[in-house]
């Protein structure tokens, strides 16, 4: 007789960085259904941005929606707001914003990979990845002055300029990271146990990926060629010239490989940015108050981040709407979980890289 077990995961759990609750019904350990509850971290940031904070402060407030991808939130908010206020952003500022975004992507992807390793019980790889990740954290500190919440993007440009000495230091950091990347890739891909554990696990098909509206690495790992960096023109990515990376398998293994390749790609982009950085002022003055509505799309580490702002000429936004990548991916989670072993769930969950504080805001 088949009997279902109920295995709860969360809200506090060793495999979770953020509170979130999943209720699995399993047969033995195979998942047959899942219920999820994601709202534990709701703080009401959108509401606060529409009631309490001046529009100039909003980029700093929305950065606190999520610490992992803080810079993407503030950049997206800034890009949207700049369309409805009087402001001239220099080319250099745009390039610096891209630089910060790419650093953010690397550190986020590496954290995700480390978390996947930890969640699948591969502690040494977690340690290794976290150790290499420190280089990126240092690079971010050199660039902006802080490791995590660095409030770099602001209305009219970026908060700090960069001199050549700083550029050299950054180049050295990414160069060092580049040299260790192949070793990391070996440990993720050439190990018999990771192959057993990751291949064919947590897979999603191309058709499902389309139908469920996935974005970011999850979609790309399943073969969907989507990358907001070349789809939108808010930031001059096209000048850098690159192609989105796509994998076909859609499983955990493919997602890991995709992230590793994107890290390599981001390193390359950083090098190109640092080489071709245009001259100019890093910050320009913002005049007037937001009037009208605008939106911005940006490729956050987890996929498409969408901002919508509407101002009525007052100092406070009339409406601010954030649509985060994890929110778009949530629908696919269930499809991915079903039929998996419970023992794979922490690793799968980590590889989906959910950002609950983004989603719940």
């Amino acid at each position: 007789m088949i009997k279902q077990l109920h295995i709860p995961l969360g809200s506090q759990h060793a495999a979770l960085l953020e509170p979130l609750r999943l209720d699995f019904s399993t047969e033995n350990e195979r998942i047959v259904s899942v219920r999820s509850d994601m709202g534990y971290v709701h703080r009401g940031v959108e509401h606060a941005c529409m009631n309490r904070f001046d529009f100039k402060k909003v980029p700093f407030v929305v950065a606190r929606v999520c610490g992992l991808c803080a810079i993407t939130h503030s950049t997206a908010a800034v890009l949207a707001t700049e369309q409805i206020v009087e402001c001239m952003v220099s080319e250099r500022a745009q390039w610096l914003r891209m630089l910060a975004l790419e650093f953010d992507r690397i550190h986020s992807h590496m954290l995700c990979l480390a978390h996947v390793a930890e969640s699948s019980g591969y502690e040494a790889l977690f340690m290794h990845t976290m150790m290499e990740r420190e280089r990126v954290m240092e690079a971010q500190e050199i660039l902006s002055g802080n490791r995590v919440q660095f409030d770099y993007a602001t209305l009219g440009g970026v908060t700090r300029d960069m001199d050549s000495q700083c550029a050299q230091a950054l180049l050295a950091k990414v160069g060092a990271l580049k040299s260790v990347l192949s070793g990391l890739r070996d440990r993720f891909e050439a190990n018999w146990s990771t192959q057993m554990r990751f291949k064919g696990v947590g897979a999603i098909t191309l058709e499902e990926a389309y139908r469920l509206g996935t974005v970011g690495p999850i979609a790309r790992a399943a073969g969907v060629r989507t990358d907001i960096r070349i789809e939108s023109s808010h930031l001059p990515y096209r000048a850098l010239g690159f192609e989105p990376i796509v994998a076909l398998e859609g499983d955990l293994y493919a997602r890991n490989r995709l992230r590793l390749e994107e890290i390599a790609q981001s390193i390359e982009l950083i090098e190109r940015i640092l080489e071709g950085l245009p001259e100019g002022a890093h910050l320009s003055k913002v005049r007037g108050r937001p009037k009208g509505e605008a939106m911005a799309r940006i490729e956050a580490p987890r996929g498409e981040l969408f901002y919508y702002v509407r101002g009525n000429g007052g100092a406070i936004f009339e409406r601010l709407r954030i649509r985060t990548p994890t929110y778009a991916n949530l629908k696919a989670f269930e499809a991915i979980f079903l039929g998996q072993e419970y023992s794979s769930i922490p690793a799968i969950l980590a590889s989906l890289d959910p950002c609950m504080s983004c989603t719940a805001k």
Binding site: M1, K3, H6, G10, S11, Q12, H13, R21, E29
Partner: protein, 615 residues
């Protein structure tokens, strides 16, 4: 003295059964207790007094009675087959009749004794009357919860008691002719008792049990035919003395017949079907006594087999059943089914050890026969208690039984522990088994694998009973009718006491019984220390493990006064949790493959019998 006791032990139960059946309602309970006590004291006395084998010749008229009864039984089976429109039963009954007729036709008068009371028989009497008597007593209480009329309840208990006589006779019968009759009588009683509840399921199961056991009877008759063909007397003792090939052939048929009675694969179905019957039936027929005919037969003929390909085939067959039975049991859900399959599995182990037939292996086999009998009877009785008082049959329904029925669960756990953990008898039997089977190639691999799977099985079931659903409640000591608690507790105490006294028990109970078959058993004891040729079990290990296992319930009853109580961790949430354990579905093809492998082994044994006979 022994002769009188033997007569009492064989015929007494039938008389006592009549008394019990005819007794007024008020008196029948005490009468059952009294008869059980009488029978057990007789068996104990016989065991104590027994010094050497005693042969008892039966008067000539008994031959006629045996023949008459034989044909009456076969006639009854034929009638059942015709009435139930079951062609197989009709066919087998006709076959049995023809074979029996032929055997009787060719039979020359036999000058030998018909009953030989040896130490093995006397030891098995202890098991039959001790455990069987308790089960009969237990059945008095159990049947009160059935919907039967009082008369029918008394009939049920009376049949159980009468059956003890059949078993007693079976273990000392030297005449194979008599043995066949008794074998057929056990077939009859399992047919009647399995069909006791008279519903559709019972009918089907009882018919299945009937035809399979009839097949066993046919094989017995074939074995007898082989002996007659050679013109040899129809006696076990004569068979054991002849060293020629045909004797092996006959032994192969006899063993094959007994293996069916022991529900070895692929004939495991009938024992499983027996779970539709009232629980005492499972306890007495299908765990502690009747199925033991299989290892008993192999044990008895083991010396004859020793060193032949037949012994190898039987041993590997037993080993296979040990693992396969345990594996199949993993997927089962009804407690009684699980117990039944683990019985089949352990019977396989006993058959295997009996076939190995070294003194050590035979000692291990007998140890297992005895202690498994006690433990399994207790487990089945507890399954009955859980079924009747707590309305839980399947393991799923037993979730968190601990908080409702701590006493029953404790005894079930004790039963499980006694089969899987040191220092209990059955485990020591298994230990001796490995030490014994290590000498003969790879048999111990079966023992190793099988015992681990059995441990997995039992702890899985234990897990269900322990896991508490719902809110955290204290234990409520349940009220159990005294019949249930006394009978099961007696068995539990037996298990616990024999565990600490395992060394003397083995030396004084098992070794003398085995000695006549395989002299030179090297089991010895010094105080509580058990000494085997290949390794000792010092007293401190026995006492240590015993204390640990018994310290646990005692300490568990005492509440820790100065320690805080806290809620279980559940990620900060508060959830109502249902106990969980895995289930291990056995794919259909594996079950089929196991049946086929069993059938091949079985066919091989019969074939070897044929070949050896011809050669």
């Amino acid at each position: 003295m022994i002769e009188n006791l033997t007569l009492f032990l064989i015929l007494g139960p039938a008389l006592l059964a009549l008394v019990v059946y005819g007794a007024p309602r008020r008196l029948y309970g005490p009468l059952v207790v009294l008869s059980s006590a009488l029978l057990f004291s007789a068996a104990l006395l016989a065991w104590l007094l027994h010094a050497q084998s005693v042969a008892i010749a039966l008067p000539a008229w008994t031959h006629a009675a045996i023949v008459l009864l034989d044909f009456a039984l076969i006639g009854y089976f034929l009638w059942v087959g015709v009435r139930q429109n079951h062609r197989l039963i009709v066919l087998l009954a006709l076959l049995q009749g023809a074979l029996l007729g032929w055997v009787l036709y060719a039979l020359s008068a036999a000058p030998l004794a018909e009953i030989v009371v040896d130490k093995l028989g006397a030891t098995l009497w202890l098991l039959v009357t001790g455990v069987g008597g308790l089960i009969a007593w237990y059945a008095v209480g159990y049947m009160r919860h059935e919907s039967d009329s009082p008369r029918r309840q008394q009939a049920f208990v009376a049949i159980l008691i009468a059956f003890l006589g059949v078993m007693n006779a079976l273990f000392v019968a030297d005449s194979i002719e008599l043995f066949f009759l008794l074998f057929e009588l056990t077939t009859l009683s399992s047919f009647i008792l399995i069909g006791w509840r008279r519903d559709a399921a019972s009918r089907l199961s009882s018919l299945q049990a009937l035809w399979m056991n009839q097949l066993g009877g046919v094989l017995l008759l074939l074995g007898m035919g082989v002996i007659i063909w050679q013109g040899a007397p129809l006696f076990f003792s004569a068979l054991l003395e002849s060293q020629s090939g045909w004797a092996l052939g006959a032994a192969a048929f006899l063993i094959a017949g007994a293996l069916i009675k022991g529900a070895q694969m692929p004939f495991d179905r009938w024992l499983l079907g027996a779970m539709v019957a009232p629980t005492p039936v499972s306890a007495i027929l299908h765990s502690s006594t009747m199925v033991k005919i299989a290892p008993f037969m192999v044990l008895k003929l083991g010396v004859l087999l020793h060193g032949t390909p037949l012994a190898v085939a039987v041993a590997y067959f037993g080993g296979f059943v040990f693992v396969a039975g345990a594996f199949v049991a993993l997927a089962r859900n009804h407690l009684k089914e699980i117990l039944a399959y683990s019985t089949i599995s352990l019977l396989g182990l006993m058959v295997m050890l009996s076939a190995v037939a070294t003194p050590l292996a035979l000692s291990a086999a007998l140890t297992l026969i005895l202690f498994h009998g006690v433990a399994k009877a207790m487990l089945f009785m507890e399954a009955g208690v859980l079924e009747k008082l707590h309305h839980a049959k399947s393991v799923d329904e037993m979730g968190g039984m601990l908080s409702r029925a701590p006493m029953s669960v404790f005894l079930v756990l004790l039963g499980f522990a006694s089969i899987t953990l040191p220092p209990f008898g059955a485990l020591v039997g298994k230990w001796v088994a490995i030490e014994a089977s290590a000498q003969s190639a790879f048999l111990f691999l079966f023992v190793a694998l099988g015992s681990v799977v059995i441990a997995l099985l039992y702890f899985k079931v234990a897990g269900y009973m322990l896991g508490k659903p719902g809110s955290q409640m204290g234990l409520t000591i349940e009220r159990i009718p005294r019949v249930f608690s006394v009978t099961t507790l007696l068995l539990g105490v037996t298990l616990a006491l024999s565990a600490i006294l395992i060394a003397p028990t083995l030396v004084y109970l098992i070794v003398p019984a085995i000695e006549p078959f395989a002299p030179g058993s090297e089991i010895a004891h010094k105080g509580l220390t058990l000494m085997l040729p290949s390794g000792d079990l010092p007293f401190w290990q026995i006492v240590g493990a015993w204390l640990l296992l018994l310290l646990l319930p005692l300490a568990g009853l005492k509440r820790m006064r100065r320690v805080d109580r806290v809620r279980e961790y559940s990620g900060g949430e508060r959830i109502e949790m249902q106990p969980v354990t895995f289930y291990f579905p056995t794919p259909r093809w594996i079950v089929r493959a196991m049946a086929i492998i069993g059938a091949i082994f079985f066919g091989l044994i019969v074939l070897l019998g044929g070949v050896l006979w011809v050669a």
